[in-house]
Symmetry: C2
Subunit: 270 residues, 2 copies
């Protein structure tokens, strides 16, 4: 299903930006809403009005029905709760939802890698490894890369930092080929979006908010699939650092909005 | 076959020392002769007379026949050559034999480990390893410990030095259980020999030479079975460092003899 602009949105350049960031596909709405709440209403007490959601939905090209289904699912899953006051409703994250959102935020919004040092942990190959319990990424049955060294002395441990020569086969095991391909593709998208934005009319407050949500959403789907490890352990075709840098530039250009300013804007636009 | 002293040797304490060092067994004579030549006649032009060999043989308790067979074998294998001058014969190492002997000497005679640093080389577990061609010790199918790092970047390399925490399973793979047991047993022997020597009469020049040959021979059979790696990678039950220290003490007490002094001594004793 192609993303369709609501007729109330008429900026052609913004339309192109939305198309690029959604790759002309309607995003999974429940997942997009997780991004919306994380971006705009992570603070305790912060609420997103039904009106604000309608504006976002229209800018992104999401059908009302799809939004209703997604909100229902998120409520059922314990992410959000809603309150009705008269004819209007407002949604907010549950405590659990806020915790989840806060845990992911540093990785999504950081300009730099959130991990700077890692350890290669070489465990006894004759022992079966409790892979489930150990943190980090297993690069083979007895080789693991983690950001915390083990407490016991049963394994050999080597520091992996910028000075370490890490062979390609090891780096390649750190991050799935699909995620690496997605990072490259998103890096291209970001460059195009930056170009579009340079030639676009000044964005409205709602467009500004939607732009940030779509940027964050697209990046979130990539960065949270990659392990939280320093850049030096990633293979060459992982474009995480490049994406982070461009995201940071765009965030500088389009800083985080105050929820109240955005609420004012949607009320004035209605 | 128990080692039997020739009646010409009459020092009871020296007899006990020989018994300890030969563990009351006749050593493999060809192998012992390799030690004799390495200890006494490694210099180009150095020769060991038949008379000298006879004295050593008698002190150690080797039958004349066994010595003849061993000399024949060493000549056939290209280790030694002999020259006859009238009724006497003299033996010397071939160039090849001298090279072999010189290559092993540093490890046998050194007070310290001849390797001080090693590298753990982690190669791609999905690739079959050319184990035959790579130097060092394989501790698993893709883990190797070597004293030279590889030239290519296909492996991950970590320094193994005194500061490295090397787990027991890795150390245990470095050196065979049998070799470790032999080192412990030899360490006990060395302590006993040192005690015997303290209570023994002053050794004759020939006894001094035989003592050194037997010490070197027993140690050679252990140290050359262990890999040439720094002490830090060896397991706790490897007594190499302790043996080296005691060997060095005994060598200080019984320094290397000049071949000519020994030759004079055997001629005077005959």
């Amino acid at each position: 299903m192609g993303a369709q602009y609501d007729i109330s949105v008429d900026s052609a350049s913004f339309h192109r930006i939305v198309s690029r960031l959604t790759e002309d596909q309607t995003p999974r709405v429940w997942s997009l809403l997780v991004t919306v709440f994380g971006e705009l209403a992570q603070d305790k007490g912060a609420q997103i009005s039904g009106l604000m959601l309608r504006h976002m939905r229209e800018h992104i090209g999401i059908k009302p029905e799809a939004m209703r289904v997604a909100l229902h699912r998120l409520r059922k899953d314990g992410w959000i709760e809603n309150e009705r006051t008269g004819r209007t409703s407002a949604h907010h994250l549950t405590d659990w939802g806020r915790t989840q959102s806060a845990a992911a935020s540093p990785r999504i919004y950081s300009r730099d890698a959130t991990a700077t040092r890692a350890w290669l942990i070489v465990s006894d190959p004759s022992q079966s490894q409790p892979q489930g319990r150990a943190c980090g990424v297993w690069v083979s049955s007895n080789l693991r890369i983690a950001t915390t060294p083990p407490k016991d002395t049963a394994s050999f441990v080597a520091v992996l930092d910028d000075a370490a020569q890490i062979p390609a086969w090891m780096k390649n095991k750190v991050c799935a080929l699909q995620t690496r391909a997605a990072s490259k593709s998103f890096f291209e998208t970001l460059k195009q979006v930056r170009e579009e934005l340079a030639g676009a009319d000044a964005l409205s407050t709602i467009e500004h908010a939607v732009l940030r949500v779509l940027l964050v959403h697209a990046w979130r789907r990539i960065i949270l699939k990659a392990p939280e490890l320093p850049d030096c352990v990633f293979p060459q075709d992982w474009y995480g650092p490049q994406c982070r840098a461009l995201m940071a530039d765009l965030f500088d250009q389009f800083p985080k909005l105050h929820l109240s300013d955005l609420q004012d804007a949607v009320e004035n636009a209605s």
